[in-house]
């Protein structure tokens, strides 16, 4: 460092300078993400145009020009002339306003519909409670049993002053939730047993049976199982034993779910290091003690995200019972549409049902992804 005298020192400012706007800031973000290359620019322009046109059209159809209610004539029959005239330009949400109770609760007696409404709330509460990590202990099984029993009492009635409502009058969202939840509740123990059986080395006959079961059920579509249950079940039972339709569909869904869940649980069992099993053997635990206290808790924790994904699949698959004539949520939507004044408004009804299903499935898949991230944190290097 020379000591030259009297050269003008560069003027260092103490004021903070902003970073160059070509690197940081909204314009830079746009350039990097939307307009980085010619191809990207072209895609952005095309997609932007299409999205704007679609959004403008959709908002106009669904909100601005929509008909929210129609007048009723003297006999209480709705007069849908305004809706029919607006077809194509405006949605007819009046069909939902008119039919929402039919779609949600089916032909359940009108005055008792508070009971299935409470059952839906109980189901939601059950899902939320099962999702909270604090509850992952044996008491959860008790909570499930108690809630499902309460739901059974509410839906059937016949005790505690509630009037009896037979199963053929149930319908709509409670049926969908019942099929999915009871299906999972009963399929899960069966799936664990089948997965353990499939991995057993000492009992080859049992392994063969489990493999046969899983491959058979996974190879056929759910529709054929539902057909088999609805049409052939009465032939399987001895004379005079009548199984009602809901139970038949439920058994078919349980068998189907158990096969898929067994594969998921088997994946978890395989992912567990062999050392755990060997350490348990070294401690002198019997097979069932080892499985119940060491293997299963770890394996099940590993497979909770795929388990939730499989449950989402079953929740959607319950809509197939419409083909065997059961009145779940989708079937009630179609029944609502078969009423002559409302026959041409299927788009509105299907969109609403899609929103309902999406709400459930999106919440569950978001939860499963969050869980995956959280549980995988420990394993990620």
């Amino acid at each position: 460092m020379s000591q030259t005298a009297a050269t003008a020192e560069p003027a260092y400012t103490t004021a903070r300078e902003r970073p160059p706007s070509s690197i940081v800031g909204p314009w830079a973000w746009l350039r990097a993400n939307l307009f980085s290359t010619w191809l990207s620019t072209a895609i952005t322009l095309l997609l932007g145009y299409l999205i704007l046109r679609f959004l403008v059209g959709f908002i106009g159809w669904a909100i601005l020009n929509a008909i929210w209610s129609v007048p009723y004539n003297a006999q209480g029959v709705p007069d849908t002339a305004t809706c029919i005239n607006a077809k194509g330009t405006g949605a007819c949400w009046a069909v939902i306003a008119n039919k929402y109770r039919l779609i949600l609760f089916g032909r359940y007696p009108f005055d008792e519909q508070w009971r299935p409404a409470i059952c839906v709330v109980l189901f939601l509460a059950l899902y939320v409670v099962s999702a909270i990590r604090w509850f992952w202990r044996p008491v959860l099984a008790l909570i499930w049993v108690a809630t499902l029993a309460a739901i059974g009492v509410l839906m059937w009635g016949g005790m505690l002053g509630l009037s009896f409502v037979p199963e053929d009058e149930w319908g709509g969202l409670p049926i969908t939730l019942i099929l999915a939840t009871f299906g999972l509740a009963f399929a899960f123990p069966l799936a664990v047993l089948v997965a353990l059986g499939r991995r057993s080395t000492k009992l080859p006959a049992v392994r063969m049976l489990c493999v046969l079961y899983v491959e058979l059920i996974r190879g056929v579509p759910l529709i054929s199982l539902l057909f088999m249950a609805s049409v052939m079940f009465p032939l399987f039972m001895p004379e005079g034993v009548n199984v009602d339709k809901l139970l038949r569909a439920q058994v078919a869904i349980i068998l189907f779910a158990a096969a898929y869940l067994a594969e998921v649980v088997r994946g978890g069992l395989q992912a567990l290091p062999k050392g755990q099993s060997e350490a348990a053997d070294a401690l002198g635990l019997t097979y069932w003690q080892k499985t119940a206290f060491i293997i299963l808790p770890q394996a099940l924790r590993l497979v909770i995200p795929p388990l939730v994904n499989t449950f989402i699949g079953f929740f959607k698959d319950t809509s197939l019972v419409l083909i065997v004539g059961m009145f779940d949520l989708l079937m009630m939507g179609k029944v609502a549409l078969s009423d002559p004044p409302w026959q041409s408004f299927s788009t509105e009804v299907y969109l609403t049902l899609a929103v309902v299903y999406s709400a459930f499935c999106f919440a569950m898949s978001k939860y499963s992804r969050g869980l995956e991230r959280e549980l995988g944190r420990a394993h990620r290097r």
């Binding site: 049992v206 190879g219 579509p221 057909f227 049409v231 809509s319």
Partner: protein, 403 residues
């Protein structure tokens, strides 16, 4: 010590005594045998009980059994079939075969289209363009949350809103779009066309062989001969020449509006189209996820190495990342193909005549429910077991040879 065959230290060593089973509960082999007998016995008892009941019920009700109905004249009309069918003459067996062909038709086309669409969306999800990435993410998220049956019904009722045949949308005088489907002109197939297709196949094989030869030349000498003139000649000029030499027939059967509907020409029915659309759009969402996770499973170092070599995004993806990603992608992709094939059974809800739909009609007409459902299950089991066998073979074929 690598050889264990003639290890001198083991000569004269004691061999472990063979386990002799003792009839005591403390012997693990005895316990295993007893448990297996009990469990298999219980399952066999249950099966015997159910089958016994079924037999008893069937005979008590005087219900016909057996597959003799497959030889009976069907009488049921079928909307679309790939092979000729006459309800007055053809049997139930033939009708069911038509159902299988329809199922395979929609499954194969659906698999091809879903793979293409799914791969594009999966790659789009990873693109640098924020709008494209978000849009494809939204697509995948939403479509996986809506039941397939609901989507099928939605598309089917949407296709009902197309105009009537008399007010059909048209492209020239050849292609018509109405609520009866898409009507296209159909080529009148002659032997010259078959020969031309054969020539195309020969040309494709020739191009493949020329490609291999070019690659060997490149590895040997460093100079790659030009492929495109040979490919052009083999794939385009050769079939055209064969076709022209055999008389160059080119007759189109045009659809024409007679009375209610279009006669002549080829049809893509709304039922087929709605089923295809629903299946492709739904399965593409799952395939997009699989492709995306497969590409992301390839370590970042491969991308960086490619960039260090001066390659751009496209070639890196095509030549370096995708071949490695395929190993991760193929197994779940195959199970999605299986799902698509099984989901095509939902055709029974919208009136497309696949095997479930026709078997359903058959079991209603003949009253033989057990045989009808057994037929459906046998068909799907055959399809899924063959696809699983293929997947197992492929997995073994590309499995990483590890230590």
């Amino acid at each position: 010590m690598s050889s264990t065959a003639a290890d001198p230290r083991l000569v004269g060593a004691r061999v472990a005594p063979r386990h002799r089973i003792r009839l005591s509960w403390s012997d693990p082999l005895f316990r295993a045998v007893v448990w297996q007998v009990v469990i298999v016995g219980l399952v066999a008892l249950l099966a015997w009980y159910l089958i016994g009941n079924t037999n008893r019920n069937l005979t008590a009700r005087h219900i016909a059994t057996g597959f003799a109905f497959l030889g009976r004249v069907a009488g049921i009309p079928i909307g679309e079939s790939l092979i000729p069918y006459d309800p007055a003459v053809d049997t139930f067996g033939r009708a069911l075969v038509i159902g299988i062909l329809n199922t395979l038709q929609v499954s194969v086309i659906g698999i091809v289209l879903a793979t293409i669409l799914g791969t594009l969306i999966g790659i789009g999800r990873l693109s640098g363009n924020w709008l494209l990435a978000r849009l494809t993410a939204f697509y995948v998220e939403t479509l996986r949350d809506i039941p397939l049956l609901l989507q099928l019904l939605f598309w089917y009722t949407l296709l009902h809103n197309l105009p009537q045949p008399r007010q059909a949308l048209r492209i020239g005088d050849a292609v018509f779009l109405s609520n009866r489907g898409v009507k296209l002109p159909l080529l009148e197939w002659q032997s010259a066309h078959s020969w031309a297709v054969l020539a195309l196949l020969v040309g494709a094989i020739g191009t493949f062989l020329w490609n291999r030869h070019a690659r060997h030349r490149q590895e040997a000498t460093g100079v790659r001969p030009r492929i495109w003139p040979m490919a052009l000649g083999l794939l385009i000029v050769l079939p055209l020449a064969v076709w022209a030499a055999l008389g160059a027939p080119l007759n189109w059967e045009m659809p024409a509006l007679h009375g209610f509907n279009f006669q002549g020409g080829g049809t893509i029915s709304p039922e087929f189209f709605a089923l295809l659309l629903g299946l492709v759009i739904y399965t593409a969402a799952y395939i997009a996820e699989i492709v995306r996770s497969g590409i992301q499973s390839v370590s970042l170092g491969q991308w960086e190495a490619g960039r260090a070599l001066g390659l751009r995004r496209g070639p890196i993806l095509r030549r370096i990342v995708l071949p490695q990603a395929l190993r991760v992608i193929i197994p779940p992709l195959t199970s999605q193909y299986l799902n698509l094939t099984k989901n095509s059974s939902l055709a029974v809800a919208i009136g497309y005549q696949d095997v479930v739909s026709i078997a359903n009609t058959t079991l209603n007409q003949t009253g033989q429910a057990v045989e009808g459902i057994a037929y459906i299950m046998a068909v799907y089991l055959t399809i899924s077991l063959s696809i699983s066998a293929f997947m197992n073979w492929y997995n073994r074929h590309v499995a990483l040879v590890e230590r």
